[in-house]
Amino acid sequence: MGAFLLRRFASLAFVLWAMTVLVFAIVHILPGSVAHMILGEYATDAAIAALEERLGLNDPLYVQYWRWFSGILAGDFGTSLTMDRPAGPLIFEALGRSAVLASIAIVLVAAIGIALGIHSATHVGTASDRALTLGQYFFIAVPEFFWCILVILFFAVWLGWLPATGYTPLAEGGLLGWAKHLILPVSTLVLGLIAHVSRLTRSSMLEAIESRYVLAARAKGLPERTVLRRHALPNALLPAITVIAVDIGILIGGIVVVESVFAYPGLGRMLVYAIENQDLPLLMGGMIVVTAVYALANLAADILYAVLNPRIRVGGAV
């Protein structure tokens, strides 16, 4: 297990480093001058030259890369070009707010998705299984932005129960005010993912239930509840964990859309802002942070998978 962790951490470090090269390359190797992009098409040559000098854009690329990379290693993401503030705190403040959104969403997806999947698998062919199946296909098929608009119209505009946009910090609005702003974004985020996860849990649970070791467990005379909980479920959860990790990627994509629509001041909205305003330090830093979050989530899933799966955790013959 120690060697396994070491290996995974090494490859995580490699992936993150490779991402810094890629992000840097995408931003800098694309044609056009960065200073020109920042100052707009009517900028004078002198102004551009001055800005290039100030940003160090005349240095060789590897020097620029190293300056940026060593800064990140030291926790310095550079200075936001449009807000004239250090990019690091801006990014992490936004990340914190997105993390609230994402972690509530992922917990709901895992809990509700797996529970619904198990229910379907143990009630195959019944009315509730069929209704769930129908719902699952529907929610997988309809995209998030459609739900965003629909729930805003329904709950915010028509019923007026919940705010359509914005964010209230916990310290200011109290628990209720804070939660009110989260309900709509979170529910639109999780609908499709719950459908996805429960669909998959259903099929992996069914596979486990039809396996010979479950038949063997029944032949031992164990009660059905024990058979399902002890023999079927742990094996059925393995594929579900992998899919939840993959879904974190989808979730990050969803967060960009949902934060933009609900004007929620998180990392997704910040990235869109950075792209629109060509705020390169903010953009590059934001992308690195998103990558790191995704990679760490997958690492966590791999570790959980290994813990639950003895074929990975315990090697060798007896």
Binding site: R7, A10, S11, S211, R212, Y213, L215, A216, A217, R218, A219, K220, G221, L222, P223, T226, R230, H231, P234, N235, L308, N309, P310, R311, V314, G316, A317, V318
Partner: protein, 671 residues
């Protein structure tokens, strides 16, 4: 009979399917006394598994069960099954790798019934589980109890499963194909264990199997099931010696037997299972029966014939009439042709494990094939036998250059074959795989699968290709009506024939058959084996016939090569390899084969312990670590060279030839 432990009368099971009600079991009766052993034999679709599930009360929810009596020790199983299973009725399922939960430790799984039924506290149950594992002959039981299933070999897993079944000291053990997934050497160990358990514990057995040899070894009574009906029931030894129902006769005639040689073609049972949604009122075997006569369409009752129950109105009249055999004899074979394939020093290693950072670490290696040389003439069949993990499949693929060799050369028809062979070699050397389910593309019709090689090798096109497809189907005895069918629309035997037809499409000179008949029922297997023999005789195709079933290899092969851990340890003409002098490994393999009607053989058996995957010494004889007649230091230090013990018969062993020649005949009973 004394009061029966298990008493089943008039048991019928049916399943509702889209095609209608499938009558899986129809009016089945059987009884097992305490300590008795009943064999339940039949091919796939006969209803064997439904029987086991019905006794356990574990039939699918959609299944309908009716019975006049379904009693276990005086209790009605329909009410009591949930309480009895696992405590007084133990079950061992077919594949131990599938029957053990991969996520739980062995000891926990063995202890589960004790906690459930005996209400033992977990630590005491676990301690008892370790004792049980030890009783099953598992070395280091405490360590094994802590292990997960994937860490154990197949034989150890099956012992653990048997330990679980025996945990609560049941009076009845249901064995559903308990050795089918195991090597013949491991099977012999498990059969020994079951025999001992039956003797020591007086546990009654219901052995469900397609293998008549193991039924003969373990059981005193036998029930033959055909398409849901009992066709013959009585004393096992008598029935196997002198079968009375035509189906039992057919099963025995279709069985290739290592102790019989290859005098004739086997006798396949034509046709397939009847439609179970519409059971015939008359004899359900009549459509496939060569003894069909007037009166077969009338309902048949189980009648007492020669001391047993037979469901056939002609049972007495037929007497000892054997099942008719096809007319071919071995004498019609042409002499072998010129040298076709010569392989020299083929070797292939596999590395264990993988991954990015492991590139920098030394990894364990398995020498799957370790310097193998062999040759084949046109029209010759070379049988390749050995336990799983011996490198048989790897060798077959190396010979076809399907995987890259680390060393060695291949000459085909006098020309060297490069590591990346041209289309001409691919056309002339083909392969038939074990499992037609996974080797046929489920999205291709028969026609597409057969046209593809014709087009690929430019052999025929248009109307000519069309005719060629019909000709190929005819070769494998299928009608052109099969052309538009997809794999899922065919039976296992039909699919395997399509696999063979596909391999034949390019008119190859050399075919590798990798366990090509292993997945098939005996009656279908006989038909496919006859087909392969016809191809050999009519087209002069040479075969490398890989199989773990020595009976099948003995039937079809001209020569046999015995492989152990990547090395050929014995090679020679079939009759020479099957008789002494033996390599000790060959002797052990042969004496492990369960044969019908040879229970006297048990005393002279040479038993192997452990299995192939156990690591042996890097130098020395590859078999030394398991060899029961090892002579000591030379075996550990030096790999034995191949020595010619007779013309064309070579053995790699340090033992003196005279001593190997003194070994008892492994396939015959000795007094």
């Amino acid at each position: 009979m004394a009061e029966a432990l298990l008493d089943v009368a008039g048991l019928s099971v049916s399943y509702a399917t889209r095609r209608g009600l499938v009558h899986a079991l129809q009016d089945v009766s059987l009884a097992i006394p305490r300590g008795g052993a009943m064999g339940l034999v039949g091919e796939s679709g006969s209803g064997k598994s439904s029987m086991v599930l019905a006794l356990l009360g574990l039939l699918d929810k959609g299944a309908r069960l009716e019975a006049d009596r379904l009693d276990f020790a005086g209790e009605d199983l329909r009410q009591a099954c949930a309480r009895l299973r696992g405590s007084r009725i133990g079950t061992v399922f077919q594949d131990p790798a599938a029957a053990l939960n991969p996520a739980l430790r062995i000891g926990f799984q063995v202890a589960e019934p004790l906690v459930q039924h005996r209400r033992l506290p977990q630590p005491i149950a676990l301690a008892r589980a370790v004792e049980l594992l030890a009783e099953m002959g598992i070395p280091r039981p405490a360590e094994v109890a802590q292990a997960y299933p994937h860490q154990l070999s197949g034989g150890m897993k099956q012992r653990a499963v048997i330990a679980t079944a025996l945990a609560c000291e049941p009076e009845l053990l249901l064995l559903d194909e308990p050795t089918t997934a195991l090597d013949v050497t491991v099977e012999a160990q498990i059969l020994d264990l079951l025999e001992r358990l039956r003797r020591d514990r007086q546990v009654a057995l219901l052995l469900v199997s397609h293998n008549l040899g193991i039924v003969d070894r373990l059981c005193d009574r036998l029930t033959v099931l055909y398409a849901g009906r009992v066709v013959e029931q009585g004393d096992a030894a008598t029935m196997l010696r002198a079968p009375r129902h035509p189906y039992t006769r057919g099963l025995l005639a279709a069985l290739p037997r290592a102790d019989r040689g290859q005098l004739q073609r086997l006798a396949p049972i034509p046709g397939g299972l009847p439609d179970l949604t519409r059971p015939e009122s008359g004899c359900n075997f009549a459509a496939r029966c060569p003894f069909r006569a007037e009166g077969c369409d009338a309902p048949q009752a189980l009648r007492d014939v020669a001391g047993r129950a037979v469901r056939c109105h002609r049972a007495e009249e037929l007497g000892d009439t054997p099942w008719p055999r096809p007319g071919h004899t071995a004498a019609q074979r042409a002499p072998l042709g010129a040298m076709l394939l010569e392989a020299e020093g083929l070797a292939r290693r596999f590395r264990l494990g993988g991954g990015f950072l492991q590139m920098f670490r030394s990894r364990a290696e398995v020498r799957a094939v370790d310097g193998v040389s062999l040759s084949l003439r046109r029209g010759e069949v070379l049988g390749l036998v050995g336990e799983s993990g011996c490198g048989k499949t790897t060798l077959g693929r190396l010979l076809l250059r399907l995987i890259e060799a680390d060393a060695g050369t291949i000459r085909f028809d006098g020309q060297p074959v490069s590591p990346r062979p041209d289309a001409a070699f691919r056309r002339r050397a083909q392969i038939v795989f074990q499992n037609p389910d996974s080797s046929l593309n489920p999205r291709q019709t028969v026609e597409q699968a057969l046209l593809r090689p014709l087009v690929r090798f430019g052999l025929a096109s248009g109307a000519a290709a069309d005719r060629e497809v019909d000709r190929l189907l005819e070769r494998v005895r299928l009608s052109p009506a099969y052309r538009p069918r997809y794999p899922h629309q065919m039976s296992g035997g039909e699919k395997q024939r399509i696999g063979i037809a596909r391999a034949l499409a390019s008119r190859p000179d050399f075919l590798v058959c990798d366990e090509a008949v292993s997945a098939l029922d005996v009656s279908v297997q006989a038909a496919v084996l006859n087909l392969l023999a016809d191809l050999r005789d009519e087209l002069g195709v040479a075969f490398l016939f890989i199989s773990h079933d020595i009976g099948v290899v003995a039937h079809i092969a001209d020569r046999i090569a015995v492989m152990y851990r990547g090395v050929i340890v014995e090679e020679g003409p079939t009759q020479a390899v099957l008789a002494p002098p033996y390599h000790p490994y060959t002797q052990a393999l042969l004496s492990a084969v369960p044969l019908v009607g040879q229970s006297g053989r048990a005393t002279t058996r040479l038993r192997l312990v452990g299995d192939v995957s156990a690591t042996g010494p890097a130098s020395g004889c590859p078999f030394a670590h398991r060899c029961p007649v090892k002579i000591g230091a030379p075996c550990e230090r030096q790999a034995p060279a191949m020595r010619e013990v007779a013309v064309g018969h070579r053995i790699a062993c340090h033992l003196p030839i005279e001593e190997m020649a003194r070994a008892p005949h492994a396939l015959m009973a000795t007094e």
